[in-house]
Symmetry: C2
Subunit: 394 residues, 2 copies
C-alpha cells in the first residue's frame, strides 16, 4: 500500500545509512574503540558554549508567546536582518531581511527552493561526485538530476562536460563548495568560468538558469583558503545554508536561504519560497533556535580541530600508498580505490573494522569517502588497520 | 520562472494569511486595543513553565553532541518510548517506540504520511468544512482532495455522502476531531460508524483505505467530553499529532506520527515515513525540543483559559441573535453568516474592526470562523462591535 516513489526508495536505500547501522553492530561486537567508522558526516566538535548560553538566556527571559509562537513563515524579521548584516559585513554583499528565509536546515532549504522553481521533467545539473540526497530532493518535484562527469585529475568541475549537459530543460545547477564528498573548494576562477558558461547558455536557450549553492561547509576551509559567497559571481544564484556544521547543530534543523534582489523574478522566488516553507509542512524554522543562532553569528567554527584530523588522515593514507585528493575544505577525504570495484575495497576495509562509503553513492565509482569528523584518537588508532588494508594491495 | 504549482498558489493564496496582514495594518491605524482579530489559530496561553525549565536544564547539563546531534531519522528512541508509554497509560493502547516517529509539527507529519501512501491521482477524502492546507499537502504528491458535503444541522460527518464519495481511487480519509474550524468533537458512535463504512468499502474496492487522524487539538475538549484515540476504532488508522496547541509551542515545530502494528503493511509504512522524513528535507524533528517535550508529557493543557473564552463568545454572539455551533473542543467558533454571501459579512465585520475568516477558506460557504485563542479582555471589548454588526442584519 505504500506509494511507488517510496517503493523505489526501499530498493535504493541509503548506503550511508546502511553503514551507520553496520557501524553500530560492529561496535557492539568488537568494542567501539576497535571500530574505525568514517561513514557519517556528524560534526565531532561540541556546539560553542555561546549557543547553550543563548538558549538558557532565551528560555529564562523571553516572553513564551514570542519565543515559542508562530511568526512569519520566513522567520523572525530581526533574525533575518541580523543574518543579512552578518553576511554583508563578511562578504561585502548588500542583503536585507527580505532576502533571507529561515529554513529547517539546508535540506529543508533545498526542498523549498526546488518546489519553487521546478516543474515535472525539468533538469537539475550536478557535478559528480555529489551528495546523493540531491537526487531525492529533485524527485520530490518530478525533476531529473543530470550529472556532469568528474574531472578525475583535480575533481574541480569539468566545464566542457558541464556546457554539453545544459539543455532547454535545464532549470537549475547545484554547486557544493567546499565539497561533499571530495573536500575540494572551487576557486574564484572556477566560479567565474561557471558563471560565463551559464550566462552564455541562458542566452542560447532563452530562459534563466538558477545556480543553487548548497554551502553547509562554507566556514570549514583550510590552508588560508578564503570563504566565498557565490551571489557575487552570477546574479541568478540562490544560496542554501545550514548551521549544522559551523555551529555543530545538525539535530536542530536550522538554516536559511538567500535570494538576492538581482536574481530574475526575485520577488516571486522569495514569495514562492515562503509559501513552499508553509505548504511542504515546515511552516517555519524552529523558533527558539532561530533566536539562538542569531546571537551566535560571530562564533568561530572549530576549524583547527578538523584541520588536525585532515592532516593526520591525509598524510597517513598517502604515506601508506593510497591516492587521496587533498581536502581544502569540509571534513571529507576522497580516496581512490586501489581496485576498480570500490565496493570490494569497502568490503576489504570492513575486515579491519574500517567503515568507508562507496563512491557510487555519490555518482562516482572507483573512489571512497572517509568522513574525518571523528576523534583524533580514532584516526591515530585506525592507522595500523589501514596499514593492513594497504598490505592487501601491495 | 517559478513552477506552475507555485504560480497556482500565488493565485489562491491563503485567506487566513491575508487576514493576518490586514489585522496588523488595522492595529497600526486604530490601535491594537480597538481591533478584534479572531483570524489566527495561534495559542493564547504561554507554554507551561516546565517546558522552559526542561530546555534550560537540557542546555546546561546534556552533552552537546547528544543534545544537538543527529539521531535516527525517526527521532531519539527514548523520546519515542516515553510518548508510547504516555499514550498507553492514557488510552489503554499498546504502542512501543517503533510505532512513533517524531516529526516537524503536525504539518510535517501529514506530509510524510502522504508521501508514504499517495500516488498521483489518488483521492483523499475530507469532511467539509476542513483545514484548507490539506489541499496543499495532497497536491504536493499530485493527489486530489474529495470533500464530503457538510451536515449543516450538526456539522458531524455526513455519513451518507461519505460512503458515496469513496471510489477505487480513495487511498485515505482525514478526520480532524476536535475540529478546525467547527469546534465539533466526533462521538464514539460517529467513529464507529466511520469505521463501519470504511471496513465495508475496503472489501468492496479490494484495497486498504487509511484513516489519517489529524489531532493537534486532542487535549482541548470541554464540558466533560473525553479525549479519544482513534486507532481503537479502525485498524488502518495513522495519527498525526502536534504539541503546538497542547503545550503552546507552534513555532517550535514538534509533533509525532503513530502507526499501530495492526495497520496493513505497518512495517513498510513506518519505514516509508522515516525515509520521507529524511528525503522531504525534514531529516528529523528538532533535537532539543524532542527531549524537552518528552519531559513534559504529563503537563496539563490550560483548557480553563479557552473554556472561559468559549463561553463568553458563544453566549455573547448567541444572545445577539447569531447562529453558532456550540464548540465541544479546539478554540474555534463556527458562526452562520446572516447573509448567504459570507464574504459580505466578513467585510461588514471589518467596519467594526472585527476580523473573521470566511467559510469558503474551509470549503463551506455561508459561515465564518472565529478563533477565540485570544485574550478574554479582547472578547469582552469586542461585544459592542458585534452588537453594531448584529444591528445591520436586524
Amino acid at each position: 500500500m505504500v506509494s511507488k516513489k517510496i517503493q523505489a526508495a526501499f530498493a535504493g536505500s541509503s548506503a550511508i545509512r546502511a553503514m551507520f547501522v553496520e557501524g553500530k553492530e560492529m561496535a557492539k561486537k568488537y568494542g567501539a574503540e576497535n571500530v574505525y567508522d568514517f561513514s557519517l558526516g556528524n560534526p565531532a566538535t561540541p556546539a560553542p558554549k555561546a549557543i547553550n548560553e543563548a538558549i538558557i538566556d532565551l528560555a529564562a527571559h523571553t516572553d513564551s508567546m514570542e519565543l515559542h509562537g508562530y511568526m512569519d513563515n520566513a522567520g523572525y524579521p530581526e533574525v533575518r536582518q541580523a543574518i543579512a548584516e552578518n553576511l554583508n559585513r563578511r562578504f561585502d554583499t548588500s542583503f536585507e531581511f527580505h532576502n533571507i528565509t529561515m529554513t529547517v536546515g539546508a535540506a529543508g532549504g533545498l526542498n523549498i527552493i526546488f518546489k519553487t522553481i521546478l516543474d515535472p521533467g525539468d533538469e537539475v545539473i550536478v557535478f559528480a561526485p555529489f551528495f546523493g540526497e540531491y537526487r531525492q530532493y529533485a524527485a520530490n518535484f518530478d525533476a531529473v538530476i543530470v550529472a556532469v562527469a568528474p574531472d578525475l585529475a583535480t575533481f574541480q568541475p569539468n566545464l566542457t562536460d558541464f556546457e554539453a549537459k545544459i539543455t532547454a530543460k535545464t532549470k537549475a545547477v547545484i554547486v557544493n563548495t567546499p565539497n561533499n564528498p571530495t573536500g575540494v573548494v572551487y576557486s574564484p576562477k572556477t566560479m567565474e568560468a561557471i558563471a560565463t558558461v551559464l550566462e552564455k547558455k541562458q542566452q542560447e536557450i532563452g530562459h534563466d538558469i538558477y545556480l543553487v549553492s548548497d554551502e553547509p561547509y562554507r566556514e570549514l576551509v583550510y590552508d588560508g583558503v578564503k570563504q566565498d559567497f557565490l551571489t557575487k559571481y552570477y546574479k541568478n544564484t540562490i544560496v542554501g545554508y545550514s548551521f549544522s556544521k559551523s555551529l555543530s547543530l545538525p539535530g536542530e534543523r536550522i538554516g536559511y536561504v538567500v535570494v538576492p534582489d538581482e536574481a530574475s523574478d526575485a520577488e516571486d522566488l522569495i514569495r514562492g519560497i515562503e509559501i513552499s516553507n508553509r505548504t511542504l509542512g515546515f511552516v517555519n524554522a524552529p523558533s527558539l533556535m532561530q533566536k539562538a543562532v542569531a546571537r551566535c553569528l560571530e562564533e568561530p567554527t572549530d576549524v583547527a580541530f578538523y584541520d588536525r584530523n585532515r592532516k593526520r588522515l591525509y598524510e597517513g593514507l598517502t604515506e601508506l600508498g593510497f591516492t587521496c585528493v587533498k581536502p581544502e575544505g569540509a571534513f571529507y577525504l576522497w580516496v581512490k580505490s586501489p581496485v576498480e570495484d570500490e565496493e570490494a575495497f569497502v568490503e576489504a576495509g570492513k575486515k579491519y573494522h574500517i567503515l568507508m562509503v562507496k563512491g557510487s553513492a555519490f555518482g562516482c565509482q572507483g573512489y571512497v569517502r572517509l568522513a574525518y569528523c571523528v576523534s583524533y584518537e580514532m584516526i591515530e588508532r585506525s592507522m595500523s588497520a589501514f596499514e593492513k588494508l594497504a598490505e592487501e594491495y601491495k
